[in-house]
């Protein structure tokens, strides 16, 4: 990495990376709490993971990048199919955008993430805030210990994918803060969905809850903006994966130094 990557850029990119899961979170009575605990656990595990031997870390991150790209393509395709959008075209456009984002290099991606995270965070918070009058606290219940621990462990494992941007940044402290920021926002979105929808089942509960965000009779069906913001986060996640893979390819293709 040639240029210095400021902490706030690292925080923003890692938060966007984590928020990519926002559209696909399942909903149960304690999922928001599991997300919070999972985030905290993953933030604690991140620094020791970054101290793993370099070749092992590189191999793990390369594998992780490939898995995450395929995972993102699959879930976005299914979501767009459900939503009635031409799924193949939308996925192709998103991949192309992610590739263009990664083309300028990781430092540009980090720099770009700060204004995007600011806008995304503000829109997500606004989307949650306008639904506050409709929240029903009777849906809040104490979780059963065993499923709660299982869900927290699963969430922590998922959040550890932030290892990828953290490795790209070569730092653990700021990415852990980004993870906490993104995980906190995800927990808030999950809590919002629970307090609005209760225990009813929906294919995409976060998306369904966002559809209830309205400003009077003037502005309704805000779920499109919500989905667009989270699709942008998904695009950023794929761009991080592409960027990492490009950096590894460039490293391997570089000629060996003559002694």
């Amino acid at each position: 990495m040639d240029k210095h990557i400021f902490s706030r850029w690292q925080i923003s990119l890692c938060a966007l990376f984590v928020l990519a899961d926002g559209l696909f979170l399942p909903l149960d009575s304690a999922s928001w709490l599991s997300l919070l605990c999972g985030t905290a656990a993953a933030a604690m595990l991140l620094p020791p993971l970054l101290r793993l031997p370099r070749p092992l870390l590189n191999a793990a991150c390369t594998l992780l990048a490939l898995i995450l790209i395929l995972h993102s393509i699959r879930r976005l395709f299914l979501f767009w199919q459900y939503e009635g959008t031409p799924a193949a075209l939308a996925t192709a456009l998103l991949l192309l955008t992610a590739w263009l984002l990664s083309w300028r290099g990781a430092d540009c991606l980090f720099m770009w993430s700060l204004p995007v995270m600011t806008a995304a965070g503000a829109l997500l918070l606004l989307s949650a805030a306008v639904t506050v009058p409709d929240w029903s606290l009777r849906y809040l219940v104490l979780p059963s210990p065993a499923p709660f621990l299982r869900d927290s462990a699963r969430a922590a494992l998922g959040f550890l994918s932030v290892l990828l941007p953290a490795h790209l940044a070569g730092n653990a402290k700021a990415p852990a803060k980004g993870l906490l920021l993104g995980g906190g926002l995800l927990a808030l979105l999950s809590l919002r969905a629970l307090l609005l929808l209760g225990g009813a089942s929906y294919a995409y509960p976060m998306y369904a809850a966002a559809s209830l965000a309205a400003v009077g009779d003037l502005l309704k069906r805000c779920e499109i903006v919500f989905a667009a913001v989270l699709a942008l986060c998904e695009c950023t996640r794929i761009a991080v994966c592409f960027s990492f893979l490009r950096s590894r390819t460039a490293f391997k293709a570089a000629p060996a130094k003559v002694p």
Binding site: W80, R104, C108, V116, A200, R221, I224, A227, L232
Partner: protein, 210 residues
């Protein structure tokens, strides 16, 4: 990076599904149970008059299941059954007695149905007849019905129960009260009393005072 951000926004805009073309949006629908399955009368809004006025037209559809019913309506409009503007669904007594759990779950799962739409039970007359009664405040009866229900819910005369709350109550097998609609002597639709649902099926009626 600015160009890429602009490109990104351009990519996202068409994904919203919004377009200038919205032929005959549905404003309300009346659903009933038949021997063969389900029947629906949907109120569509025609906006092609030269003087700019909107006028209601009614479409009937039938199907063995709810998905077949909506598929039939879609086929009759050449694939342009535009349900995302619907705000009220009138439930006929035949359907209320049979149970509305499946209906609420089906509507909640449809991407084009608003989770804020209101369900109301037709009492004393078939739901499709109540839907087509002359409205006092609006030229479109279905729109007038929604405004009536919305106004009464805001005043606290009716419980505020949009689709997502109904769906949740039915899934939790809670007791549910839905507003009733009846035909007044002067031929208009008015809300009065409640239909009580237990285990998703009509269990009786309550007056406004009860």
């Amino acid at each position: 990076m600015k160009r890429i951000t602009a490109w990104m926004l351009l990519c996202i805009l068409p994904l919203s599904g919004c377009s200038a073309e919205s032929p005959l949006p549905v404003s309300a629908a009346a659903l009933s149970r038949t021997a063969e399955g389900y029947a629906m009368t949907a109120e569509l809004i025609r906006q092609d008059s030269l003087d700019g006025d909107a006028a209601p037209v009614y479409l009937t559809a039938e199907g063995e299941s709810l998905s077949a019913l909506f598929e039939d309506a879609d086929r009759k409009l050449g694939g342009h059954f535009y349900f995302s503007h619907a705000e009220t669904v009138l439930i006929d007594l035949t359907l209320a007695q049979d149970g509305i759990t499946e209906l609420a779950a089906y509507l909640a799962a449809r991407t084009d149905a608003r989770l804020t739409l209101r369900l109301v039970v037709a009492r004393g007359a078939p739901a499709e007849a109540l839907l087509q009664l002359d409205a006092l405040g609006e030229s479109i009866p279905g729109v007038a019905l929604y405004e009536l229900l919305q106004g009464l819910a805001r005043r606290g005369d009716l419980p505020d129960l949009p689709l997502y709350k109904v769906h949740n109550a039915l899934q939790q097998e809670e007791r549910l009260l839905l507003p009733c609609l009846y035909q007044t002597e002067d031929g208009h639709a008015a809300a009065e009393g409640f239909a009580v649902f237990e285990q998703g099926k009509l269990a009786g009626f309550l007056s406004q005072e009860e």
